[in-house]
């Protein structure tokens, strides 16, 4: 087997199609395609867009044979495999709406995963659901008692009778897919994106953000149920007629070197990932590997999905320097599923740019006042640093607004509001929530906080309380809910948020819990129970702090003031540290600790 080639005679078109179907019809005229690598780094599946199109149309006919309404939802357990790609495109040709569902499992996570699948399938009102064989038992459990037309493995779908009718005509305004922004069981938000919307974003990203050429080739380990994996690596390569190579997310997590090996072998030019992905890879790379690889072709290594910390990127660039990797390949970007994907990109071939500002002015007046770090050291001022996320893509309009909706000026931090052709139409069947963040004249309130300086965007935090760990979005309410399932814990007793850890400044989840229990053994057991619930449902470690009743701050209307609770917690942590270390003043980290923003979340 051989991977599909990188170049062909088909003229490059950068996503300027009316529908995804027209885009695949065009890509099928060339020789490029999709390739899948296994845990050993061996190519195990490869097909050109031409071959893929034939398979996809055959599958589309089987889906049409089920006699569903146009626009019916098809839930797809999105394991990294050729099946997902076939089903995703077959749904397009059949006029159905694919909904990627997570394929992720934490230790002891059976019940949590099934509940998550059930929640998403119910929320999108799926008529059909598919899971690869290894995931089928969970999907079966999740759909028991639910009224679906068909649930099966790819083989089960092969046995369906194909329709002999003509393929339906799909309009540019019809829904292309629904993307869930977090795997939340209790607060799913399905972003609805139509063909015109996603293609506008792909056109803008490929033309202006990445300035794509006929030599480009994509490589990725990102999960297909994540917007970056789905839009940037399934749809964008196809809509720009480029080849793409995939490594499974689990395989990457276990053996990150396989990702680099794959990109070296294929002379990949474009990849992407959250900072922690680069960090994981850097930790495992040996000097001898880096010397063997050739990453000199890699011109774009997008960095997004979580707050960008420059240190892991520096480590990656140093470790991979012998392979010809250039640190100027790092491309910080900002985006979110609600805008299809990309919003701003830093300049190509530029070093990472960092803005150093006065942390106190930022915290108190929300003004990003430049402050030289050396100067700050002398004057004992604290410095906050933010990575330059680049200029907005040209199709976006931006407004930075204060809490009353007034427009702010240069270097004033406020809520990032965006308008443009890549913005979603709504959250699926969530009218009230849609109205809260999307105005009648098309402005999206992102809930992220940032400022503009010289036409560049800097994202500094989040107004909403989303917890982002390793690029995954977790609602604090979900963690609080788990805590509240314990006996003796009342509805108002828990607050969840994330803080940078003391050890390595990585974001860590914290639950502060008001607790009346005095028995030390019972208190320890409560902490252990909740921590294991969190671990089995989300696969993350969580700090649990028990505090006396009436410790958690509330707003005047009695709502939990989570941001305040977080600052209180940091205060207690700092106080404890001061108690234990004689002279902490000189060792305080320079950077300010701000809540997470989502970067291509």
């Amino acid at each position: 087997m051989q991977a599909t080639g990188s170049s062909h005679s088909l003229a490059l078109r950068r996503g300027d199609f009316t529908t995804l179907i027209a885009a695949l019809d065009y890509a099928a005229k060339g020789d490029t395609g999709v390739n899948f690598y296994n845990a050993r780094g061996e190519l195990y599946a490869s097909s050109t867009y031409a071959d893929l199109q034939v398979e996809v149309i055959a599958l589309a006919r089987r889906l049409i044979g089920l006699g569903l309404e146009p626009g019916a939802r098809v839930g797809l357990v999105a394991e990294t495999s050729p099946h997902f790609v076939r089903f995703f495109w077959a749904c397009q040709y059949a006029g159905l709406v694919p909904v990627p569902l997570p394929a992720t499992m934490h230790i002891g996570g059976h019940a949590g995963y099934v509940a998550q699948l059930r929640g998403l399938i119910e929320n999108c009102g799926a008529s059909v659901a598919m899971a690869p064989t290894e995931w089928m038992s969970f999907l079966e459990e999740a759909t028991t008692g639910a009224d679906l037309t068909f649930v099966g493995t790819p083989d089960d779908f092969e046995r369906l009778t194909p329709s002999t009718n003509e393929l339906p005509t799909v309009s540019p305004e019809s829904i292309a897919y629904i993307q869930y922004t977090s795997g939340s069981t209790r607060f799913p938000r399905g972003v609805v994106i139509d063909h015109t919307t996603v293609l506008a974003n792909i056109n803008d990203m490929s033309t202006n953000g990445l300035k794509m050429t006929e030599q480009d080739r994509f490589g990725s380990w990102l999960p297909f149920y994540h917007d970056m994996g789905l839009v940037a690596f399934i749809m964008m390569p196809m809509a720009t007629q480029r080849s793409v190579d995939f490594l499974g997310t689990q395989d990457f997590a276990m053996r990150p070197r396989k990702w680099l090996e794959m990109m070296s072998a294929n002379r990949t030019t474009i990849t992407s990932g959250p900072p922690f992905g680069y960090d994981l890879a850097a930790m495992r790379v040996r000097q001898s590997d880096a010397e063997q690889w050739d990453l000199s072709a890699l011109r774009v290594a997008c960095v997004g999905a979580e707050m960008i910390n420059p240190e892991p990127l520096k480590r990656f660039a140093e470790a991979l320097a012998p392979s010809g990797f250039k640190s100027t390949a790092f491309l910080p970007c900002y985006g979110m599923a609600e805008c299809s994907l990309g919003i701003s990109f830093a300049g190509l071939d530029e070093e990472l740019k960092i803005d150093y500002v006065d942390a106190e002015t930022m915290q108190e007046d929300s003004i990003a006042k430049p402050l030289d770090p050396e100067e700050a050291q002398k004057s004992k001022r604290r410095v906050a640093r933010y990575v330059d996320c680049g200029a907005l893509l040209p199709t976006f309009e931006i407004a930075i607004r204060d809490e009353h909706g007034n427009d702010l000026s240069e270097r004033q931090a406020g809520v990032i509001n965006l308008r443009g052709p890549s913005v979603m139409s709504h959250y699926f069947q969530e009218e009230a929530i849609t109205r809260e963040c999307l105005s009648a004249d098309g402005w999206l309130d992102t809930g992220d906080i940032g400022y503009l300086a010289n036409g560049r965007l800097f994202v500094t935090g989040r107004q909403k309380d989303m917890i982002i760990i390793h690029g995954r979005n977790i609602w604090p309410e979900d963690l609080e809910y788990l805590a509240k399932t314990q006996p003796g814990i009342n509805y108002t007793d828990a607050a969840a948020f994330s803080v940078p850890s003391e050890k390595d400044q990585q974001e860590t989840a914290v639950i502060v819990l008001q607790c009346r229990e005095r028995d030390e053994i019972k208190r320890a057991r409560l902490i252990k129970t909740i921590a294991s619930l969190v671990r089995s449902e989300y696969g993350i470690d969580c700090v649990i702090e028990l505090v006396p009743t009436r410790t958690l701050p509330r707003t005047s209307s009695g709502k939990l003031a989570r941001a305040r609770a977080r600052l209180d917690y940091l205060g207690r942590r700092q106080a404890a540290k001061v108690q234990h270390t004689p002279d902490p003043v000189g060792t305080l980290p320079v950077e300010e600790t701000m809540p997470q923003a989502r970067y291509i979340a």
Binding site: M105, I107, S532
Partner: protein, 88 residues
């Protein structure tokens, strides 16, 4: 239980104990009955590292979905044993 399968099981447990010894156990000692979920603080990155070492040691491929019903060290050893036996 034959000697052979007993040996295999012990071998797997020994490997797991060795790999897990770097993580603190919240209460008591590390035993086969220690809960990986409740008694130890392994995040998903640590878990992936452990699985990679297991895969390399026993030359198996451990599918993620098999984690679903694993709680204790013994549970994990049982799953690994299944995979090793299936291979031969």
């Amino acid at each position: 239980m034959s000697h052979e399968t007993q040996d295999l099981e012990q071998e797997i447990l020994d490997v797991l104990f060795e790999r897990l010894s770097k993580f603190p156990v919240k209460s008591g000692e590390l035993t086969a009955q220690t809960s990986l979920v409740a008694d130890m603080s392994l995040d998903s990155v640590n878990m992936m590292e452990l699985l990679m070492e297991v895969e390399d040691t026993f030359d198996i491929s451990f599918p993620l979905n098999m984690m679903a019903n694993v709680d204790t060290v013994q549970n994990l050893a049982d799953q690994i044993k299944l995979l090793v036996e299936k291979k031969s």
